[in-house]
Amino acid sequence: SPPSTPGSCTACGLGQREEASPDDSLFLEAVKRHILERLQMRRRPNITHPVPKAALVTALRKLHSGRMGADGRLQIPNLDGHATLNSRNELQEQSSEIISFAETDPLPSSNSRLFFLISNEGKQNLFVQQANLWLYLKLLPPGAGKGSRRRVTVRIWYREAGSGPGQWAWLEKRVELKRSSWHTFPMTQAIQAQFQRGERRHDLGVECQSCGGLAVAPVLVDSSDESHRPFLVVQARALDAKHRIRKR
């Protein structure tokens, strides 16, 4: 390293990365292409407005609750670059877990409508193993409703498989509410049907039955409350019939 002169930064020459040789840059490009190819992406995504950290952290915490380390930091298994899987069959399957954050429908009349944008990435044949909608049901301050009743029915509207525009199906769930909290709603069949149809946009309607007089409201997309933004979690598996070898 060059001798330091008075007034110069003695550490400036340290820790600098050597300039990559042409071979290195070619290799780096090859590795980048390899990663994108394995993720079935044509190019790296253009991140212009990242998901707010509060929404991201809440979603990951809810999904990995019980996996927090002693230091209180979030621990996500198998993300150290290496993974140990139990069987060879598991190694052959590419599994994906997709967390999609809700957007609000811009139509003024649809304040209980949400939509999610999830495409069947890279046109691979993804089979939805499980899909759950996570909604935060918020108890409004006392006095806003009738008081002690805390049992409500939440109805989720979704587009029916094979239906035309405007045809909706629904599922509902009875929810016992003691305090404001997160609740999950199974959406596997609905999302699987939309994936099969190759639809990118997933419209959902949220309706709280008999909540009118109660102090309960599902928190939809509220930009001032990012940590309670609804999200959809899809666990999917890539199916590749051409290359699948099954052991009998």
Partner: protein
């Protein structure tokens, strides 16, 4: 499997770690923070074919069958190839700002051997 240390020209695993921050990919890949883009390099002389690292290799089994039948495997080239690969789990943003966690099989070269 041998690790490349600059002193051997035999088939070995060259470690190559890419930090996603250095290539500006840390804005869309949440975890892990880098990728072990290890690769295999080096020569495979005849006596190296069927070395322990490649015992499970299908190609080695084929060459051994040729040997047992008295055919000359010396005319066949032996290759330095990955003999053990591992899965890599990735957490990243896609084009639609969804978070995707994917277990990608055969992403990391763990061992190299001659086949």
């Amino acid at each position: 499997g041998l690790e490349c240390d600059g002193r051997t020209s035999l088939c070995c695993r060259q470690q190559f770690y890419i930090d996603f921050r250095l290539i500006g990919w840390n804005d869309w890949i949440i975890a892990p923070t880098g990728y072990y883009g290890n690769y295999c390099e080096g020569s495979c002389p005849a006596y190296m074919a069927g070395a322990p690292g490649s015992a499970s290799s299908f190609h080695t089994a084929v060459v051994n069958q040729y040997r047992m039948r008295g055919m000359n495997p010396g005319t066949m080239n032996s290759c330095c190839i990955p003999t053990k690969l591992s899965t890599m789990s990735m957490l990243y943003f896609d084009d639609e700002y969804n978070i995707v966690k994917r277990d990608v099989p055969n992403m990391i070269v763990e061992e190299c051997g001659c086949a």
